[in-house]
């Protein structure tokens, strides 16, 4: 049932030497998937803790999602979700409970049966208490009732939109084996690095600095899957080496833009290699300019709008992202049509408007042609955040703002921006995770303590925005909730507390032998049970 849609999706998203060539390249006979083979993929980092129930992050999911499964996965079909460990779910009208029907006949890799007790334990003791994102979404989770082994009922102290819980299922609900974790120090449990799950692959070995090795779980609940015998994650931190390895067929997949954008046009022409832009919609990143509202010039909405006017989004997308990005209008990416509204007064590129607004705000050009000086801190997270920092410096100079680039490494950057507030402008890259309430509204909400990263540490406080966020959090009806978020987008679009420049995600480069690539919106961080290697 998946094959048809995945193939269509794959073609629509694959860039290469043009449509015709792409079609002929993929015009393979639709036969049965080949069993066997070892898939070798590139990995650029080795998280210290691989437990996806504790750390909901793509670096962890990339490896762990094959071993430990969530209740449901994102999908291109239907309502956007495909069942995994849960087969059905429904929220009560009062918003105070969600009922999950769990899959039967599932066993853990150590042979013990999977039951509702595992889900209850994971939800109450791990997601709610320890998980970076779960602590927000499940904060009102009071109890999980388990009337039988295949039913789990989540009870909330305050009305919690079922829509939010449903949207959180793919990223936030990795289920851990209760029998290995109960009564232990969960954060220090050895199973955090030697994972035990229910997924299609078993964790076999991690040799630091070299590789991870996962092997086929013969007892997987989805009979006949997985197709691959093993997956090896080869640690290749250098982008040049990744490109070379895939050309040499030493690896069959380089995900998460491991091959630099600048190399894609060339590598797409190599026979047997395809460039895939799909499969990441569920993890859309946003390139943003974070603004310190404590600085008096920047507290003025006209100045913020002027800065937004100074940015040529087309240039940024064409040159820095080489076309592999889209202009962003606001905090919700266009992909998420449930919440997105294009009806936002985003300032377009116009240096004339920028200069006019700055003049109006009372900051005229001085003797050296500059109006005021700023310190600009580009986040070191992506090559593009650094390069956009260089571009922004140039764009701001053009309208008479003298920006000095201050570069820090990761901890230095987080400390400067999110704890010390020691910046004027910063370039950031927040992630949109399938619902505005998971990691997006926190960037606007006021009253958060200092030291919490990827949250409003900008000194921005707007009563109307706060009210809209609170209203959405208590709105049970999905359509109504979406409407509130559209109002929210309009308000921040006008105020520009954070300037959204582009939305981007990752690009995969794969060997064409690798099949069923990018067949869901979180493909690289999904379980790869149906992925196979043609001979």
């Amino acid at each position: 049932m998946k094959l048809g849609s995945s193939r269509r999706g794959f073609l629509a998203g694959s860039l290469g030497v043009g449509g015709a060539a792409a079609v002929s390249r993929f015009g393979w006979a639709q036969g049965a998937a080949r069993q066997g083979g070892t898939l070798v993929v590139a990995a650029d980092s080795e998280p210290r803790n691989l437990n996806p129930a504790i750390i909901a992050s793509n670096g962890v999911f990339y490896v762990a999602s094959k071993v430990i499964e969530p209740l449901a996965e994102q999908s291109y079909d239907g309502d956007g979700l495909a069942p995994r460990l849960a087969t059905a779910w429904s929220g009560a009208a009062d918003g105070k409970s969600v009922r999950f029907t769990l899959r039967q006949g599932v066993t853990w890799h150590d042979g013990k049966p999977f039951t509702s007790a595992d889900v209850a334990f994971s939800a109450l003791d791990v997601w709610r208490k320890l998980q970076n994102l779960g602590r927000v979404v499940f904060k009102d989770l009071e109890a999980v009732e388990t009337p039988d082994a295949s039913t789990a009922i989540f009870r909330f102290a305050k009305p919690t939109p079922a829509q939010l819980i449903q949207n959180a299922l793919p990223s936030l609900t990795a289920v851990l084996p209760k029998h290995l974790y109960e009564g232990t120090d969960i954060n220090a449990n050895p199973a955090n690095t030697r994972l035990v799950g229910t997924g299609p692959f078993r964790f076999v070995e991690h040799r630091p600095g070299q590789f991870y090795r996962l092997e086929r779980n013969a007892a997987y609940w989805d009979a006949g899957k997985p197709h691959l015998d093993a997956i090896v994650y080869r640690v290749l931190p250098d982008p040049g080496a990744v490109a070379a390895a895939i050309e040499a067929n030493e690896i069959q997949l380089a995900a998460f833009s491991a091959v630099p954008l600048a190399d894609l046009a060339r590598i797409g022409k190599v026979p047997g290699v395809v460039v895939v832009t799909k499969g990441y919609e569920g993890i859309t990143y946003q390139l943003t300019v974070e603004i310190n509202h404590r600085r008096k010039e920047l507290a003025d909405m006209r100045v913020r709008r002027a800065i937004a006017h100074a940015i040529d989004r087309k240039f940024v997308i064409d040159t820095i992202f080489l076309g592999y990005a889209k202009p962003a209008a606001g905090p919700v990416p266009a992909f998420d049509t449930r919440f997105y509204t294009p009806d936002v007064a985003t300032p377009g590129f116009s240096t004339r408007d920028a200069e006019r607004l700055l003049d109006e705000a009372g900051y005229r050009r001085g003797g050296d042609g500059m109006r005021f000086r700023l310190r600009l801190l580009p986040a070191p997270f992506f090559e593009q955040t650094r390069q956009f920092g260089d571009y922004l410096r140039q764009a701001l100079r053009a309208v008479g703002i003298d920006a000095e680039v201050v570069r820090n490494d990761t901890p230095g950057h987080l400390k400067a921006v999110y704890t010390d507030h020691n910046f004027d402008l910063a370039v950031g890259s927040p992630v949109y995770r399938n619902d505005p309430a998971i990691s997006t509204t926190i960037l606007y909400q006021s009253g958060l303590p200092a030291g919490v990263p990827f949250a409003n540490q900008y000194g921005y406080a707007d009563a109307e925005v706060d009210a809209l966020i609170a209203k959405a959090a208590a709105t049970i009806d999905g359509a109504e909730r979406a409407r509130v978020y559209r109002d929210f987008q309009k308000r921040v679009g006008e105020q520009q507390p954070i300037i959204h420049v582009a939305e981007f995600s990752f690009i995969s480069v794969a060997r064409d032998r690798l099949r069923n690539v990018a067949n869901n919106p979180r493909w690289t961080t999904s379980n790869w049970a149906d992925t196979w290697l043609a001979s």
């Binding site: 630099p260 600048a262 190399d263 260089d390 490494d409």
Partner: protein
């Protein structure tokens, strides 16, 4: 002096001077040949060298003019390595003089400190320092000096140890001159020549360390550096190897020039010192 100059004017000495003069000229004329911000994204990305007269050496990934970057990079390189060499020499000379002339516990302490600095890998120290202090002109200069001051300090200390027993020092003592004044005003100038010949080595080392730091993304972000250019080119090394090759050649030429000058100066001064007695 004329004899020293004549001995300096060997093939190597002249070649080194000419090459170095070219680098200095490039640095001085950078703003004339390539006016404006060298980091400006000025043209189409990845223009090959010698294919567009407006960008003789082509453009990089973001459409920055490689020639402009190269010229402005010469400037940054000379400023950083010059400043680093100066700081290194100043610190080294001060510590060497104090250790050699005062001796005793202070000498012991300073030499253990030098031991410590010489037994850790200096580049790792520099890297740690710049990561933590944040990349800027001052932090890069400090980082380079941290790893280099021990050499001039030791050389100078040895020289001073051999000079402090000479008669003229005793004479000043008898005259009642304060010890530090004797050390810095009278002994130091006599002990300097061997340190001066070290200067070339220090400058060359400073250029290489700065390039390596920039290569790892730890150069001053507000100016173009050759090391950063090499690193930028790395992402497209297969389709545009010239982006890494060109700035690398610039580093090699500059270091080569400094080494040639150093060798020639060393031989010229060495010969004089041998002849005089």
């Amino acid at each position: 002096m004329r004899a020293v100059l004549r001995r300096f004017a060997t093939g190597g000495g002249i070649a080194g001077t000419v090459l170095f003069a070219l680098v200095v000229l490039a640095a001085l004329l950078a703003a004339v040949i390539a006016p404006g911000d060298p980091m400006a994204m000025a043209g189409r990305p990845l223009i090959q060298p010698f294919s567009d007269w407006r960008f003789p050496l082509g453009t990089d990934r973001l459409g920055r003019d490689v020639l402009a970057e190269l010229l402005h990079g010469a400037r940054a390189t000379l400023i950083v390595s010059g400043a680093a060499a100066l700081v290194t020499l100043l610190v080294g000379i001060t510590i060497g003089t104090l250790a050699g002339f005062i001796g005793g516990r202070l000498d012991d302490a300073l030499m253990r400190l030098a031991d410590a600095f010489q037994s850790v890998p200096t580049f790792i120290l520099a890297l740690a320092f710049v990561s933590i202090a944040g990349p800027s002109l001052a932090s890069v200069v400090t980082a380079v000096s941290l790893g280099a001051w021990t050499a001039p300090a030791r050389v100078l200390r040895a020289e001073i140890l051999s000079l402090r027993r000479r008669e003229f020092v005793d004479a000043y003592r008898v005259l009642g001159m304060p010890p530090l004044q004797i050390a810095f005003r009278e002994v130091l100038p006599n002990a300097l020549p061997p340190v001066i010949t070290l200067a070339a080595v220090i400058v060359a080392n400073a250029i290489l360390v700065e390039a390596a730091l920039s290569f790892l993304g730890l150069g001053n972000p507000n100016s173009v550096t050759w090391g950063a250019m090499i690193a930028e080119g790395r992402a497209v090394i297969r389709s545009a190897p010239y982006l890494s090759a060109i700035p690398g050649v610039a580093v090699v030429v500059t270091v080569l020039a400094v080494n040639l000058i150093g060798d020639a100066a060393n031989e010229a001064i060495h010969a004089r010192r041998v002849q005089v007695p």
